[in-house]
Structures are given as structure tokens and as C-alpha cells.
């Protein structure tokens, strides 16, 4: 495992800002979501699309009567721009089906620099 510098803190200051970098041949996206940094593989396990070029959003829910729609605005889901598969940037998990998960990467911040540990 080694530290790979991917950006400076000022490059990823805005909420939902992102950068996509190549680390040893693997494309990794680093997002800023809800004030935190997350590293996610830029590869959709559905059919190989550029997952991290998609939009970020919250999630539709139903309330306990099973009818009224609700929206959880914590915007930590990335949508693949090809077919709309959703993955939680914090865990890489697809909230719709446990069997699907994309790789995630540890992100560290030191002295104003952002690193991916891989």
C-alpha cells in the first residue's frame, strides 16, 4: 500500500466537487460529499461505464405507511451516467441489491494535500 497524491485541498473545496485520477492504471474518483472525502473506482460493475462521471444525489424513500414518498437529501449516491445504477460513495455498495459493490479507496488529508491509499 502506498500514498498517492491526487489533489490539493483547495481543488476539492466545493460540495460535490470531484477529481478523477489514474492510480497505477486504475481510475479513481475522489469526491467531496457532506464535507468528507471519498474515493470510488470510476468503473460501473454493471457494464463498465464511467461511474464517477455521473450525478450525485440523495435517495427516495417511502415513509412507514408504505405510500408517501420521502427524500433523504444527504447526497451520497453516485449515479452511473450510462444506466443509472446507484452506489453509495461512502461504502461502494448498491443500496438496491447487496450483491453489487464497487471498490472504494481510503482517502487521507495531510498538510493541505489529499492522498489515496492504495
Amino acid at each position: 500500500m502506498s500514498k498517492h497524491k491526487v489533489a490539493n485541498v483547495e481543488d476539492l473545496e466545493g460540495e460535490h466537487s470531484r477529481v478523477i485520477v489514474d492510480i497505477d492504471g486504475v481510475e479513481v474518483a475522489i469526491f467531496r460529499v457532506n464535507g468528507e472525502y471519498y474515493g470510488v473506482a470510476n468503473y460501473c460493475i454493471h457494464q463498465g461505464g464511467p461511474l464517477c462521471e455521473g450525478g450525485l444525489s440523495g435517495r427516495f424513500l417511502v415513509d412507514k405507511d408504505g405510500w408517501q414518498w420521502d427524500y433523504d437529501p444527504a447526497e451520497h449516491y453516485i449515479h452511473c451516467p450510462w444506466h443509472g445504477w446507484i452506489f453509495d460513495v461512502r461504502t461502494g455498495k448498491n443500496p438496491d441489491a447487496e450483491r453489487y459493490r464497487v471498490p472504494t479507496y481510503e482517502v487521507a488529508v495531510e498538510d493541505g494535500e489529499i492522498f489515496v491509499i492504495r
Binding site: R59, F60, G66, G84, W85, I86, D96, A97, E98
Partner: protein, 382 residues
Amino acid sequence: MTRPTLQELTVVDVDSHLHFTWDEVLPYMEEKYPGAKRLIEYSSHPNSEIYSATRTTPAWFQTERHGDSELDVKGHGDVSNIDGSAGYVESTTAEAKLAMMDANGIDYSVLGTGPSRLATVNHDQTAVAIAAGYNDYVIDNYLDVDDRVKGTITVAPQKPNLAAEEIDRVGDEDGIVGVQFPEVGLIPPMGHELYDPIYQAAQDHDLTLLMHSGNAAAWPVFPVQRYWAETFVEDHAFTFVVEPMWHLISMIFRGVPEKFPDLDFVFQESGVEWLGWMMGRLDDHYLQSSQDVPLLTKPPSDYIRDQFYFGTQPVGERRNRRETAMLMKLAGGAETVMFSTDHPHPDFDPPSNVLATLQSYLDGTEVRAIMGETAIDVFDLK
């Protein structure tokens, strides 16, 4: 590798028809529904004046017609069929059914489908009356004869709250294992919340929900393009399959199995070879658009494998029967497929033929499950 014979297997038929005339059922309506009873008696064409049933051309024109004067089907017509064909005398008593079962190696039969055109009855009170009259007739005549013959009750979907009361009234009778839900010609489709009281009652009483395909009653609502069919086969080949597909999709995406996780659903005579394709299609849709259906907590194929079952009849005709068995495996095999005859209809499947097909490709465990062991679990037969 051992190949069990029919006699060695426990065989359960999950789609075995009762046939009966209005004359047999109407007396059961006199006490609580005298008005509806008289309305039906007054009609000379109940199939078009009580139900809305019609065919493009006569059904199964090439098969033997065993018109039987005892059944009086040319007068009022019987409750559930227009034609009087195909050895119906075997389906008019439990004893006759048992004789057929013994001749064919069938250990248990789930009898139905009753007035499968009930959803097309325009007059709601009459629909409720027919369901109650039929249920009392079945309980009186078919149960308490032999433990191997199980029955189902039916309900009028027009009045879901009354349907739930009917399930409360007769659902716990000894020998009743399920509720026939009339899906043919039903609008809105089965996923609509209107029907929740029925699903709740069936779940509360530990009863399986059964849906039998049809086409004679489907025409007013589904599919509209049936108006251009020229013959029975064009309509039947399509409608029997696609209407249950619609109800399956409706129930899955509206969250019926999510809301009623202990309820099992059995589709009869809708074919099963298409199910493998459908599971993949629904999962694909779900993963691309899960925010359309926030009620769902798992992919559609998981709900299907956990709670949905499909009768084998009618098995498609292929040059290589191994391919049919492969399609049944892709459809979920032991998890979803259950043997059925559709006796006595002309397109029935005898168990010997279905067994041979399954054995051409599937292993013993899966064959045993499909021929009866899955049904024993689902209907709690032992």
C-alpha cells in the same frame, strides 16, 4: 442415478379444475343473496349478461368434445366455462377426481379455479353472491371426502373489504389451502392498493393466493389488440401469458410481496418457460430505476424466488424436451416451478409426460421438488 417412477414420487397437481352448473351452486345463494340468485336465474346467457365472457372462435376446435347431458351446459351454461368439452364428468365430484388421480399417480390435487371470470361481473353484489355460493358449494361437496383432495375458496375483487370478510368466514375450513383471486379481466391490476384487504386476509389465514389465466374474460380490458384476433389460438397463445405477466410486474413493482412477506402467490396456466427471462428483465429495470419503486428492499427476482410459484402447464412443445427442462431450470426450478395438469381441459398435461421432460435434464432433487415437494411446502399438505 436413480430415476423415480411416478408411483415412487409424491406428486401434487396445483391446478385441477372443478366443474359445476349454476343449478348446483345457486341454491347456496338463496339464504343470503336471494336477489342475486334470481338475477342469475332470469338470465338465459349468464356468460354475457352476468360475466363478460367471449371468445374469438370456439376453443380447441380440433379436440374431442365430450358433451355430457348431465352437466346441462347448454342451458344456463356452467359457472366457469362456456363449452361442455373434454370429459368434465371427471371433475364434478371429489370421488371422480380421486379416480383420475389414482390412474395417473397424483397424490394430492389442489382443486379450483371456480368462477374465474368473477372480475368481469358488473353488478358487485352478484359478484359477492357468486363467490359465497361457490365457496359453500365447494366446502359442502369436495372436502371431507379424502385428505388428498384440497380445495380453494374464491373472492369478488370488486369489494375487497367484503372479500376479506369472506376469507374470514370460510378460509379456515378444513381442506381449504388457498384463495383463488380472479385475475382475468381485472382492473386495476393486482398491484393496486385496493386489493390490500384481500392480501392481508389471505396472509392472516395462512392461505396461498392462486391466479389462473384466462382469455374469454380478459377481452374487455386486456389486451385491447385482441379485438383483431381472428381465431381462438391467436388470442389464447398471447392473453394467457401476458395478462399474468402484467399482474406479476404490477405486484412486484408496487411492493405487494414487500407489504405481505408471508403471502405466497401461485400463477396457474400462465406457462413458466418465460420466467427466467422476466426475472432478469425486472432486475435490470429495478437497478436502472430503483427510485421509481422506493418500497422495494431487494431485487424483483428475490421476491419471485421467495414468494412466487408457477404451474408447469401448458408445457411448450419443443423438438428436444431437454430444452424445455432447461427453461424450467432457468425459471427458478425448485424455487418457483410446480407441476400442474389443468385437468380436464383439452390442453392438460399428464404427469408422466412432465416427469419425463424434467428427468431429461434436471437432477433428482429438483425433479422431486417440482413434481410435488415444493407444493407440499407451499400448501402445507403434510
